[in-house]
Protein backbone atom coordinates (compact mmCIF):
# COMPACT_ATOMS: atom_id res chain seq x y z
CA UNK A 1 0.00 0.00 0.00
CA UNK A 2 1.27 3.47 -0.70
CA UNK A 3 1.18 6.45 1.65
CA UNK A 4 -2.17 7.69 0.46
CA UNK A 5 -3.91 4.32 0.67
CA UNK A 6 -2.55 3.83 4.20
CA UNK A 7 -3.87 7.23 5.19
CA UNK A 8 -7.31 6.46 3.78
CA UNK A 9 -7.34 3.08 5.51
CA UNK A 10 -6.40 4.58 8.88
CA UNK A 11 -8.96 7.34 8.51
CA UNK A 12 -11.72 4.88 7.58
CA UNK A 13 -10.92 2.55 10.48
CA UNK A 14 -11.01 5.49 12.88
CA UNK A 15 -14.27 6.69 11.37
CA UNK A 16 -15.86 3.25 11.74
CA UNK A 17 -14.71 2.79 15.32
CA UNK A 18 -15.89 6.27 16.25
CA UNK A 19 -19.31 5.58 14.74
CA UNK A 20 -19.62 2.35 16.68
CA UNK A 21 -18.59 4.04 19.94
CA UNK A 22 -21.09 6.82 19.21
CA UNK A 23 -23.93 4.36 18.83
CA UNK A 24 -23.01 2.39 21.95
CA UNK A 25 -25.00 4.36 24.59
CA UNK A 26 -28.17 3.92 22.53
CA UNK A 27 -28.42 0.17 23.05
CA UNK A 28 -25.80 -0.97 25.56
CA UNK A 29 -26.31 -1.37 29.30
CA UNK A 30 -25.10 1.11 31.91
CA UNK A 31 -22.18 -1.19 32.76
CA UNK A 32 -20.97 -1.44 29.17
CA UNK A 33 -21.14 2.33 28.69
CA UNK A 34 -19.11 2.95 31.82
CA UNK A 35 -16.60 0.35 30.61
CA UNK A 36 -16.45 2.08 27.24
CA UNK A 37 -15.88 5.42 28.95
CA UNK A 38 -12.84 4.10 30.83
CA UNK A 39 -11.66 2.55 27.62
CA UNK A 40 -11.99 5.82 25.68
CA UNK A 41 -10.19 7.68 28.43
CA UNK A 42 -7.21 5.34 28.13
CA UNK A 43 -7.35 5.48 24.33
CA UNK A 44 -7.00 9.26 24.50
CA UNK A 45 -4.34 9.17 27.21
CA UNK A 46 -2.12 6.47 25.75
CA UNK A 47 -2.48 7.47 22.09
CA UNK A 48 -1.39 10.99 22.91
CA UNK A 49 1.34 9.65 25.20
CA UNK A 50 2.69 7.39 22.45
CA UNK A 51 2.60 10.25 19.99
CA UNK A 52 5.39 12.04 21.82
CA UNK A 53 6.90 9.62 24.34
CA UNK A 54 6.71 6.57 22.08
CA UNK A 55 8.35 8.07 19.02
CA UNK A 56 11.00 10.06 20.87
CA UNK A 57 11.54 7.46 23.65
CA UNK A 58 11.16 10.03 26.39
CA UNK A 59 9.43 7.92 29.00
CA UNK A 60 7.23 10.43 30.80
CA UNK A 61 5.43 9.45 33.98
CA UNK A 62 3.83 12.87 34.32
CA UNK A 63 0.51 11.91 32.74
CA UNK A 64 -1.19 11.81 36.11
CA UNK A 65 0.07 15.32 36.89
CA UNK A 66 -1.52 16.71 33.73
CA UNK A 67 -4.62 14.63 34.32
CA UNK A 68 -4.94 15.95 37.85
CA UNK A 69 -4.32 19.54 36.87
CA UNK A 70 -6.96 19.24 34.18
CA UNK A 71 -9.35 17.62 36.64
CA UNK A 72 -8.93 20.36 39.24
CA UNK A 73 -9.10 23.17 36.70
CA UNK A 74 -12.19 21.70 35.06
CA UNK A 75 -13.96 21.01 38.33
CA UNK A 76 -13.35 24.50 39.73
CA UNK A 77 -14.13 26.27 36.47
CA UNK A 78 -17.36 24.41 35.86
CA UNK A 79 -19.18 26.51 38.47
CA UNK A 80 -18.59 29.62 36.39
CA UNK A 81 -17.78 28.51 32.84
CA UNK A 82 -19.64 26.42 30.27
CA UNK A 83 -18.64 22.78 29.80
CA UNK A 84 -16.38 23.14 26.76
CA UNK A 85 -14.63 26.19 28.18
CA UNK A 86 -13.87 24.23 31.35
CA UNK A 87 -12.31 21.43 29.26
CA UNK A 88 -10.29 23.94 27.27
CA UNK A 89 -9.12 25.54 30.50
CA UNK A 90 -7.98 22.14 31.80
CA UNK A 91 -6.06 21.47 28.59
CA UNK A 92 -4.54 24.95 28.55
CA UNK A 93 -3.38 24.82 32.15
CA UNK A 94 -1.82 21.38 31.63
CA UNK A 95 -0.03 22.74 28.53
CA UNK A 96 1.42 25.64 30.47
CA UNK A 97 2.66 23.30 33.21
CA UNK A 98 4.13 20.97 30.57
CA UNK A 99 6.06 23.81 28.94
CA UNK A 100 7.53 24.85 32.30
CA UNK A 101 8.26 21.25 33.29
CA UNK A 102 9.69 20.51 29.84
CA UNK A 103 12.10 23.42 30.09
CA UNK A 104 13.43 21.88 33.30
CA UNK A 105 13.68 18.20 32.37
CA UNK A 106 13.58 17.71 28.59
CA UNK A 107 17.35 17.89 28.22
CA UNK A 108 17.63 14.73 30.32
CA UNK A 109 17.23 11.28 28.89
CA UNK A 110 16.22 7.78 29.96
CA UNK A 111 15.86 7.00 33.64
CA UNK A 112 16.61 10.55 34.77
CA UNK A 113 13.78 11.92 32.69
CA UNK A 114 11.33 9.25 33.87
CA UNK A 115 12.23 9.70 37.53
CA UNK A 116 12.13 13.49 37.39
CA UNK A 117 8.74 13.58 35.67
CA UNK A 118 7.45 11.23 38.36
CA UNK A 119 9.00 13.39 41.07
CA UNK A 120 7.40 16.50 39.64
CA UNK A 121 4.02 14.76 39.61
CA UNK A 122 4.37 14.03 43.30
CA UNK A 123 5.51 17.59 43.92
CA UNK A 124 2.43 19.01 42.22
CA UNK A 125 0.15 16.61 44.07
CA UNK A 126 1.58 17.51 47.46
CA UNK A 127 1.61 21.21 46.64
CA UNK A 128 -2.09 21.10 45.85
CA UNK A 129 -2.85 19.02 48.95
CA UNK A 130 -0.97 21.55 51.07
CA UNK A 131 -2.73 24.47 49.37
CA UNK A 132 -6.14 22.91 49.92
CA UNK A 133 -5.42 22.16 53.57
CA UNK A 134 -3.82 25.43 54.57
CA UNK A 135 -5.57 27.98 52.36
CA UNK A 136 -8.99 26.64 51.51
CA UNK A 137 -9.19 24.39 54.53
CA UNK A 138 -10.59 21.33 52.76
CA UNK A 139 -9.28 17.95 51.74
CA UNK A 140 -11.48 17.55 48.70
CA UNK A 141 -14.23 19.19 46.76
CA UNK A 142 -17.77 18.14 46.04
CA UNK A 143 -18.89 19.06 42.55
CA UNK A 144 -22.29 20.70 42.46
CA UNK A 145 -22.81 21.24 38.75
CA UNK A 146 -22.40 17.96 36.94
CA UNK A 147 -23.28 17.46 33.27
CA UNK A 148 -25.20 14.45 32.08
CA UNK A 149 -23.56 11.12 31.51
CA UNK A 150 -24.02 11.35 27.73
CA UNK A 151 -22.27 14.73 27.60
CA UNK A 152 -19.24 13.27 29.40
CA UNK A 153 -19.26 10.23 27.14
CA UNK A 154 -19.42 12.32 23.98
CA UNK A 155 -16.65 14.63 25.16
CA UNK A 156 -14.29 11.80 26.05
CA UNK A 157 -15.15 10.07 22.76
CA UNK A 158 -14.35 13.26 20.87
CA UNK A 159 -11.05 13.57 22.72
CA UNK A 160 -10.13 9.95 21.97
CA UNK A 161 -10.96 10.38 18.28
CA UNK A 162 -9.02 13.63 18.22
CA UNK A 163 -6.00 11.94 19.84
CA UNK A 164 -5.92 9.11 17.28
CA UNK A 165 -6.58 11.54 14.41
CA UNK A 166 -3.72 13.71 15.64
CA UNK A 167 -1.42 10.68 15.61
CA UNK A 168 -2.54 9.81 12.09
CA UNK A 169 -1.83 13.32 10.85
CA UNK A 170 1.35 14.01 12.82
CA UNK A 171 3.04 10.89 11.47
CA UNK A 172 2.85 12.42 8.02
CA UNK A 173 4.12 15.89 8.83
CA UNK A 174 7.55 17.44 9.31
CA UNK A 175 6.78 17.61 13.03
CA UNK A 176 6.30 13.84 13.10
CA UNK A 177 9.46 13.27 11.11
CA UNK A 178 11.37 15.46 13.55
CA UNK A 179 9.99 13.42 16.47
CA UNK A 180 11.10 10.22 14.74
CA UNK A 181 14.56 11.66 14.18
CA UNK A 182 14.82 12.64 17.85
CA UNK A 183 13.84 9.10 18.83
CA UNK A 184 16.40 7.53 16.51
CA UNK A 185 19.38 9.82 17.22
CA UNK A 186 18.73 13.17 18.79
CA UNK A 187 22.12 14.72 18.13
CA UNK A 188 22.15 13.60 14.52
CA UNK A 189 18.72 15.12 14.02
CA UNK A 190 20.02 18.32 15.53
CA UNK A 191 22.98 18.50 13.15
CA UNK A 192 20.56 17.96 10.27
CA UNK A 193 18.70 21.09 11.27
CA UNK A 194 16.00 20.03 13.73
CA UNK A 195 15.37 22.51 16.52
CA UNK A 196 15.08 19.69 19.04
CA UNK A 197 14.31 21.83 22.07
CA UNK A 198 11.31 23.43 20.36
CA UNK A 199 10.03 20.16 18.91
CA UNK A 200 10.35 18.30 22.20
CA UNK A 201 8.58 21.04 24.13
CA UNK A 202 5.80 21.18 21.56
CA UNK A 203 5.37 17.39 21.63
CA UNK A 204 5.36 17.26 25.42
CA UNK A 205 2.83 20.10 25.55
CA UNK A 206 0.60 18.33 23.03
CA UNK A 207 0.59 15.17 25.16
CA UNK A 208 -0.15 17.25 28.25
CA UNK A 209 -3.01 19.10 26.56
CA UNK A 210 -4.77 15.82 25.86
CA UNK A 211 -4.18 14.52 29.38
CA UNK A 212 -5.46 17.79 30.83
CA UNK A 213 -8.58 17.78 28.69
CA UNK A 214 -9.33 14.16 29.57
CA UNK A 215 -8.80 14.97 33.25
CA UNK A 216 -11.23 17.87 33.06
CA UNK A 217 -13.82 15.70 31.33
CA UNK A 218 -13.45 12.76 33.71
CA UNK A 219 -13.34 14.69 36.99
CA UNK A 220 -17.06 15.36 36.93
CA UNK A 221 -17.73 11.65 36.85
CA UNK A 222 -16.52 11.23 40.40
CA UNK A 223 -18.61 14.14 41.83
CA UNK A 224 -16.06 14.31 44.66
CA UNK A 225 -12.41 15.00 43.92
CA UNK A 226 -9.35 15.16 46.13
CA UNK A 227 -5.64 15.08 45.21
CA UNK A 228 -5.08 11.33 45.88
CA UNK A 229 -7.88 10.46 43.43
CA UNK A 230 -7.07 12.71 40.50
CA UNK A 231 -3.27 12.69 40.88
CA UNK A 232 -3.30 8.92 41.28
CA UNK A 233 0.10 7.80 39.93
CA UNK A 234 -1.59 4.63 38.73
CA UNK A 235 -3.24 6.62 35.92
CA UNK A 236 0.20 7.60 34.65
CA UNK A 237 1.63 4.08 35.01
CA UNK A 238 -1.33 2.49 33.33
CA UNK A 239 -1.09 4.91 30.40
CA UNK A 240 2.55 3.94 29.92
CA UNK A 241 1.82 0.22 30.29
CA UNK A 242 -1.01 0.36 27.77
CA UNK A 243 1.12 2.18 25.23
CA UNK A 244 4.06 -0.19 25.71
CA UNK A 245 1.99 -3.37 25.58
CA UNK A 246 0.08 -2.17 22.56
CA UNK A 247 3.20 -0.92 20.81
CA UNK A 248 4.33 2.64 21.50
CA UNK A 249 5.56 3.14 17.94
CA UNK A 250 2.36 1.99 16.30
CA UNK A 251 -0.83 3.89 15.64
CA UNK A 252 -3.38 1.30 16.68
CA UNK A 253 -1.37 -0.36 19.45
CA UNK A 254 -2.46 1.98 22.25
CA UNK A 255 -6.08 1.66 21.14
CA UNK A 256 -6.02 -2.15 21.02
CA UNK A 257 -4.27 -2.39 24.38
CA UNK A 258 -6.65 0.14 25.94
CA UNK A 259 -9.60 -2.06 24.99
CA UNK A 260 -7.89 -5.19 26.34
CA UNK A 261 -7.03 -3.37 29.54
CA UNK A 262 -10.37 -1.88 30.31
CA UNK A 263 -12.11 -5.20 29.75
CA UNK A 264 -9.53 -6.89 31.98
CA UNK A 265 -9.86 -4.15 34.56
CA UNK A 266 -13.63 -4.25 34.76
CA UNK A 267 -13.90 -8.02 34.84
CA UNK A 268 -11.04 -8.77 37.19
CA UNK A 269 -10.79 -5.75 39.45
CA UNK A 270 -14.00 -6.37 41.34
CA UNK A 271 -13.53 -10.08 41.91
CA UNK A 272 -9.76 -10.27 42.30
CA UNK A 273 -7.84 -7.00 42.40
CA UNK A 274 -4.52 -8.78 43.01
CA UNK A 275 -5.01 -10.98 39.97
CA UNK A 276 -5.64 -7.85 37.89
CA UNK A 277 -2.35 -6.26 38.93
CA UNK A 278 -0.49 -9.53 38.39
CA UNK A 279 -2.05 -9.86 34.95
CA UNK A 280 -0.80 -6.36 34.12
CA UNK A 281 2.74 -7.20 35.16
CA UNK A 282 2.69 -10.52 33.35
CA UNK A 283 1.38 -8.95 30.15
CA UNK A 284 4.10 -6.32 30.26
CA UNK A 285 6.85 -8.92 30.75
CA UNK A 286 5.49 -11.15 27.99
CA UNK A 287 5.12 -8.30 25.54
CA UNK A 288 8.60 -6.92 26.23
CA UNK A 289 10.14 -10.38 25.81
CA UNK A 290 8.15 -11.83 22.93
CA UNK A 291 6.43 -8.87 21.27
CA UNK A 292 8.78 -5.90 21.43
CA UNK A 293 6.65 -4.16 18.81
CA UNK A 294 3.55 -4.53 20.98
CA UNK A 295 0.16 -6.11 20.38
CA UNK A 296 -0.27 -4.11 17.19
CA UNK A 297 2.75 -5.82 15.65
CA UNK A 298 0.97 -9.21 15.70
CA UNK A 299 0.52 -10.48 12.16
CA UNK A 300 -0.87 -13.70 10.75
CA UNK A 301 2.55 -15.33 10.80
CA UNK A 302 3.55 -14.14 14.28
CA UNK A 303 1.83 -17.14 15.88
CA UNK A 304 3.30 -19.37 13.17
CA UNK A 305 6.74 -18.10 14.09
CA UNK A 306 6.15 -18.87 17.77
CA UNK A 307 4.85 -22.33 16.80
CA UNK A 308 8.00 -22.93 14.72
CA UNK A 309 10.19 -21.86 17.64
CA UNK A 310 8.33 -24.19 20.01
CA UNK A 311 8.59 -27.09 17.54
CA UNK A 312 12.31 -26.48 17.07
CA UNK A 313 12.82 -26.43 20.84
CA UNK A 314 10.78 -29.62 21.18
CA UNK A 315 12.78 -31.42 18.46
CA UNK A 316 16.04 -30.39 20.08
CA UNK A 317 14.96 -31.52 23.53
CA UNK A 318 13.65 -34.83 22.19
CA UNK A 319 16.99 -35.40 20.48
CA UNK A 320 18.77 -34.68 23.74
CA UNK A 321 16.49 -36.51 26.17
CA UNK A 322 15.99 -39.62 24.09
CA UNK A 323 19.71 -40.32 24.47
CA UNK A 324 20.24 -39.95 20.73
CA UNK A 325 22.52 -36.95 21.21
CA UNK A 326 24.77 -38.81 23.61
CA UNK A 327 24.86 -41.84 21.27
CA UNK A 328 25.79 -39.61 18.33
CA UNK A 329 28.59 -38.08 20.35
CA UNK A 330 29.92 -41.49 21.37
CA UNK A 331 29.84 -42.73 17.76
CA UNK A 332 31.70 -39.63 16.66
CA UNK A 333 34.39 -40.22 19.29
CA UNK A 334 34.79 -43.89 18.31
CA UNK A 335 35.08 -42.93 14.64
CA UNK A 336 37.86 -40.49 15.47
CA UNK A 337 39.72 -43.08 17.57
CA UNK A 338 39.44 -45.76 14.90
Amino acid sequence: MNERQLFVRDALVLFGLAGWALALPAYASEFVVSLALTCLMYVALSSSWALFCGTTRYLSLATSAFFGIGAYAGALALERLPWLAAIALGAGLATVVAVVMGAAVLHLRGTYFAVLTFGMTELIRHAITYFEKSVTGTVGRVLMVVPERDTIYLTVLALAVLAVATSIVVRRTRFGLALQGIGADEQRAQTLGVNTRLIKTAGFALTAAFAGAVGAAMSVRWTYIDPPTVFNPFIGFQTVLIALIGGALTLWGPLIAAIVFSVLAETLRLQAPQVYLMALGLLLILSVLYLPGGLASIRADTAKGWWRDIRALYEEKRYEWSGEKARDKRRERERRLA
Binding site: G181, A184, Q187, R188, Q190, G193
Partner: protein, 263 residues
Protein backbone atom coordinates in the same frame (compact mmCIF):
# COMPACT_ATOMS: atom_id res chain seq x y z
CA UNK B 1 40.09 30.33 -9.14
CA UNK B 2 41.43 33.24 -7.06
CA UNK B 3 44.17 32.77 -4.50
CA UNK B 4 42.99 31.23 -1.22
CA UNK B 5 43.71 34.45 0.66
CA UNK B 6 41.50 36.44 -1.72
CA UNK B 7 38.46 34.19 -1.30
CA UNK B 8 35.86 35.05 1.34
CA UNK B 9 36.28 33.39 4.73
CA UNK B 10 33.45 30.97 5.40
CA UNK B 11 34.23 29.93 8.94
CA UNK B 12 36.63 31.43 11.38
CA UNK B 13 37.57 29.85 14.68
CA UNK B 14 39.11 32.33 17.10
CA UNK B 15 41.01 30.84 20.04
CA UNK B 16 38.67 27.89 20.46
CA UNK B 17 39.22 26.15 23.79
CA UNK B 18 37.34 23.10 25.03
CA UNK B 19 37.86 21.81 28.55
CA UNK B 20 36.44 18.64 30.05
CA UNK B 21 36.89 19.01 33.79
CA UNK B 22 40.61 19.47 34.26
CA UNK B 23 41.56 18.25 30.79
CA UNK B 24 42.04 20.79 28.02
CA UNK B 25 41.12 18.86 24.89
CA UNK B 26 41.44 21.82 22.51
CA UNK B 27 43.70 24.70 23.51
CA UNK B 28 43.22 28.11 21.87
CA UNK B 29 43.08 26.91 18.27
CA UNK B 30 42.75 29.57 15.57
CA UNK B 31 41.71 28.55 12.08
CA UNK B 32 40.25 30.19 9.01
CA UNK B 33 38.48 28.28 6.28
CA UNK B 34 38.04 30.10 3.00
CA UNK B 35 35.34 29.24 0.48
CA UNK B 36 36.29 26.42 -1.88
CA UNK B 37 39.14 25.01 0.15
CA UNK B 38 39.89 21.35 0.81
CA UNK B 39 41.54 21.28 4.22
CA UNK B 40 42.78 18.28 6.16
CA UNK B 41 43.18 18.07 9.91
CA UNK B 42 45.60 15.50 11.26
CA UNK B 43 47.03 14.68 14.63
CA UNK B 44 47.97 11.69 16.76
CA UNK B 45 45.39 9.88 18.89
CA UNK B 46 43.89 12.18 21.50
CA UNK B 47 45.15 15.31 19.75
CA UNK B 48 41.68 16.86 19.97
CA UNK B 49 40.72 16.53 16.30
CA UNK B 50 37.22 15.26 16.91
CA UNK B 51 36.66 17.62 19.83
CA UNK B 52 37.71 20.54 17.63
CA UNK B 53 35.26 19.28 15.02
CA UNK B 54 32.49 18.99 17.60
CA UNK B 55 33.21 22.56 18.63
CA UNK B 56 33.10 24.01 15.12
CA UNK B 57 29.89 22.13 14.28
CA UNK B 58 28.16 23.23 17.47
CA UNK B 59 27.81 19.76 19.00
CA UNK B 60 30.05 20.77 21.90
CA UNK B 61 29.95 24.33 23.19
CA UNK B 62 33.53 25.67 23.43
CA UNK B 63 34.63 26.75 26.91
CA UNK B 64 36.00 29.94 25.39
CA UNK B 65 36.67 31.41 21.97
CA UNK B 66 34.45 32.58 19.14
CA UNK B 67 33.10 30.95 16.00
CA UNK B 68 32.20 33.22 13.14
CA UNK B 69 30.42 31.83 10.08
CA UNK B 70 30.28 34.24 7.13
CA UNK B 71 30.50 37.20 9.50
CA UNK B 72 27.87 35.88 11.91
CA UNK B 73 28.83 34.90 15.43
CA UNK B 74 27.50 31.41 16.16
CA UNK B 75 29.39 30.62 19.36
CA UNK B 76 27.30 28.85 21.96
CA UNK B 77 24.31 28.29 19.67
CA UNK B 78 22.53 24.96 19.15
CA UNK B 79 23.71 22.63 16.33
CA UNK B 80 20.62 23.29 14.23
CA UNK B 81 21.68 26.94 13.90
CA UNK B 82 25.00 25.77 12.47
CA UNK B 83 23.14 23.52 10.04
CA UNK B 84 20.96 26.44 9.02
CA UNK B 85 24.10 28.46 8.25
CA UNK B 86 25.37 25.79 5.91
CA UNK B 87 27.71 23.85 8.19
CA UNK B 88 27.12 20.12 7.83
CA UNK B 89 29.06 17.29 9.40
CA UNK B 90 29.40 13.53 9.46
CA UNK B 91 30.21 11.45 12.50
CA UNK B 92 33.13 9.10 12.98
CA UNK B 93 30.89 6.08 13.48
CA UNK B 94 28.01 6.36 10.99
CA UNK B 95 24.93 7.66 12.75
CA UNK B 96 22.25 6.99 10.20
CA UNK B 97 18.59 6.50 11.16
CA UNK B 98 18.66 2.70 11.14
CA UNK B 99 14.94 2.07 10.81
CA UNK B 100 14.38 4.48 7.90
CA UNK B 101 15.20 3.67 4.30
CA UNK B 102 18.28 5.22 2.73
CA UNK B 103 16.08 7.58 0.73
CA UNK B 104 14.22 8.71 3.82
CA UNK B 105 17.52 9.33 5.57
CA UNK B 106 18.44 11.73 2.76
CA UNK B 107 15.00 13.32 2.72
CA UNK B 108 15.35 14.04 6.42
CA UNK B 109 18.07 16.60 5.76
CA UNK B 110 16.22 17.99 2.76
CA UNK B 111 13.16 18.59 4.91
CA UNK B 112 14.97 20.36 7.73
CA UNK B 113 18.19 22.31 7.24
CA UNK B 114 18.02 21.78 3.47
CA UNK B 115 14.53 23.23 3.20
CA UNK B 116 14.21 26.37 1.15
CA UNK B 117 11.05 28.39 1.43
CA UNK B 118 10.73 29.13 -2.27
CA UNK B 119 10.76 26.08 -4.47
CA UNK B 120 11.07 27.90 -7.81
CA UNK B 121 13.64 26.37 -10.08
CA UNK B 122 14.76 29.49 -11.89
CA UNK B 123 14.59 32.09 -9.17
CA UNK B 124 14.18 32.26 -5.42
CA UNK B 125 16.41 30.50 -2.96
CA UNK B 126 16.26 27.17 -4.73
CA UNK B 127 18.09 28.61 -7.73
CA UNK B 128 21.33 28.84 -5.78
CA UNK B 129 21.21 25.13 -4.90
CA UNK B 130 23.36 22.98 -7.18
CA UNK B 131 21.35 20.71 -9.45
CA UNK B 132 22.60 17.52 -7.81
CA UNK B 133 21.36 18.60 -4.38
CA UNK B 134 17.83 19.46 -5.45
CA UNK B 135 16.38 15.99 -4.95
CA UNK B 136 17.05 12.86 -2.93
CA UNK B 137 17.64 10.98 -6.19
CA UNK B 138 20.39 13.36 -7.24
CA UNK B 139 22.19 12.93 -3.93
CA UNK B 140 21.77 9.15 -3.97
CA UNK B 141 23.23 9.04 -7.47
CA UNK B 142 26.18 11.21 -6.43
CA UNK B 143 27.14 9.00 -3.49
CA UNK B 144 26.39 5.89 -5.56
CA UNK B 145 23.62 4.39 -3.45
CA UNK B 146 20.85 4.65 -6.04
CA UNK B 147 20.37 0.89 -6.15
CA UNK B 148 19.90 0.47 -2.38
CA UNK B 149 17.71 3.54 -1.85
CA UNK B 150 14.73 1.58 -0.54
CA UNK B 151 16.65 -0.65 1.88
CA UNK B 152 16.57 0.27 5.56
CA UNK B 153 19.81 1.97 6.53
CA UNK B 154 20.56 -0.78 9.06
CA UNK B 155 20.82 -3.27 6.20
CA UNK B 156 23.60 -1.35 4.43
CA UNK B 157 27.26 -2.33 4.74
CA UNK B 158 29.45 -0.10 6.94
CA UNK B 159 31.06 1.55 3.92
CA UNK B 160 27.65 2.21 2.39
CA UNK B 161 26.48 3.66 5.69
CA UNK B 162 29.45 5.98 5.64
CA UNK B 163 28.47 7.16 2.16
CA UNK B 164 24.90 7.59 3.34
CA UNK B 165 26.19 9.66 6.24
CA UNK B 166 27.86 11.98 3.70
CA UNK B 167 24.64 12.03 1.68
CA UNK B 168 22.65 13.06 4.76
CA UNK B 169 25.08 15.91 5.36
CA UNK B 170 24.82 16.97 1.70
CA UNK B 171 21.03 16.98 1.98
CA UNK B 172 21.26 19.97 4.30
CA UNK B 173 22.63 21.88 1.26
CA UNK B 174 25.77 22.97 3.06
CA UNK B 175 28.47 25.45 2.19
CA UNK B 176 30.94 23.79 4.51
CA UNK B 177 31.21 20.04 4.87
CA UNK B 178 33.01 18.54 7.86
CA UNK B 179 34.09 14.93 7.35
CA UNK B 180 35.19 12.99 10.42
CA UNK B 181 37.38 9.99 9.50
CA UNK B 182 35.23 8.96 6.56
CA UNK B 183 37.97 6.70 5.22
CA UNK B 184 38.66 4.81 8.47
CA UNK B 185 38.38 1.07 8.05
CA UNK B 186 38.04 1.18 4.27
CA UNK B 187 40.22 -0.76 1.85
CA UNK B 188 42.87 1.02 -0.22
CA UNK B 189 40.65 1.06 -3.30
CA UNK B 190 37.68 2.34 -1.32
CA UNK B 191 39.79 5.11 0.17
CA UNK B 192 40.81 6.26 -3.33
CA UNK B 193 37.15 6.17 -4.32
CA UNK B 194 36.23 8.23 -1.28
CA UNK B 195 38.96 10.79 -2.00
CA UNK B 196 37.72 11.14 -5.58
CA UNK B 197 34.17 11.64 -4.30
CA UNK B 198 35.34 14.31 -1.88
CA UNK B 199 37.24 16.22 -4.59
CA UNK B 200 34.25 15.90 -6.87
CA UNK B 201 31.88 17.27 -4.26
CA UNK B 202 34.22 20.20 -3.64
CA UNK B 203 34.54 21.00 -7.36
CA UNK B 204 30.99 20.40 -8.53
CA UNK B 205 28.98 21.55 -5.52
CA UNK B 206 31.02 24.64 -4.56
CA UNK B 207 31.71 23.17 -1.15
CA UNK B 208 34.42 23.85 1.33
CA UNK B 209 35.55 20.56 2.80
CA UNK B 210 37.34 19.96 6.08
CA UNK B 211 38.52 16.39 6.35
CA UNK B 212 39.88 14.72 9.47
CA UNK B 213 41.76 11.51 8.98
CA UNK B 214 43.88 9.30 11.13
CA UNK B 215 45.71 7.79 8.13
CA UNK B 216 48.02 10.67 7.34
CA UNK B 217 49.53 9.52 4.06
CA UNK B 218 46.16 9.20 2.31
CA UNK B 219 45.06 12.57 3.49
CA UNK B 220 48.26 14.40 2.56
CA UNK B 221 47.95 13.17 -1.02
CA UNK B 222 44.55 14.75 -1.51
CA UNK B 223 44.23 17.97 0.48
CA UNK B 224 45.51 21.43 -0.37
CA UNK B 225 46.13 22.64 3.15
CA UNK B 226 46.64 20.72 6.31
CA UNK B 227 46.29 21.70 9.95
CA UNK B 228 48.18 19.64 12.49
CA UNK B 229 46.88 19.35 16.03
CA UNK B 230 48.97 17.98 18.86
CA UNK B 231 47.82 17.76 22.48
CA UNK B 232 45.02 20.19 21.70
CA UNK B 233 47.24 22.85 20.17
CA UNK B 234 47.70 23.78 16.53
CA UNK B 235 51.34 23.17 15.67
CA UNK B 236 51.29 23.62 11.89
CA UNK B 237 49.08 25.02 9.16
CA UNK B 238 50.05 25.03 5.50
CA UNK B 239 50.37 23.04 2.29
CA UNK B 240 51.15 19.33 2.83
CA UNK B 241 54.62 19.62 1.29
CA UNK B 242 55.62 22.30 3.81
CA UNK B 243 53.96 20.67 6.78
CA UNK B 244 55.78 17.36 6.43
CA UNK B 245 59.08 19.26 6.64
CA UNK B 246 58.08 21.09 9.82
CA UNK B 247 60.34 19.86 12.62
CA UNK B 248 57.67 20.05 15.30
CA UNK B 249 55.24 18.00 13.22
CA UNK B 250 57.85 15.34 12.51
CA UNK B 251 58.65 15.08 16.16
CA UNK B 252 55.03 15.05 17.33
CA UNK B 253 53.46 12.80 14.83
CA UNK B 254 55.22 11.71 11.70
CA UNK B 255 58.31 10.85 13.69
CA UNK B 256 57.10 7.64 15.17
CA UNK B 257 55.54 6.53 11.91
CA UNK B 258 58.81 7.12 10.03
CA UNK B 259 60.69 5.31 12.73
CA UNK B 260 58.36 2.37 12.22
CA UNK B 261 59.01 2.51 8.48
CA UNK B 262 62.76 2.37 9.03
CA UNK B 263 62.53 -0.58 11.36
Amino acid sequence: MPEPSARPVLLEARAITVRFGGLTAVDAVDARFASGELVGIIGPNGAGKTTFFNAISGVVAPSSGRLVASGRDLSGQAPHRYAAHGIARTFQTPRVFAAMSARRNIEFGLRFAGRRRRRWIFWGEEASVPWTLRSADGILALIGLGNVAELPAAALTPSQQRLLEIGMALATRPKLLLLDEVAAGLTEAEIEEMARLIRRMRDELDLTVIWIEHAVTTLLRHVERVIVLHQGRKIADGPPAEVVRNAEVIEAYLGDEMAEDDA
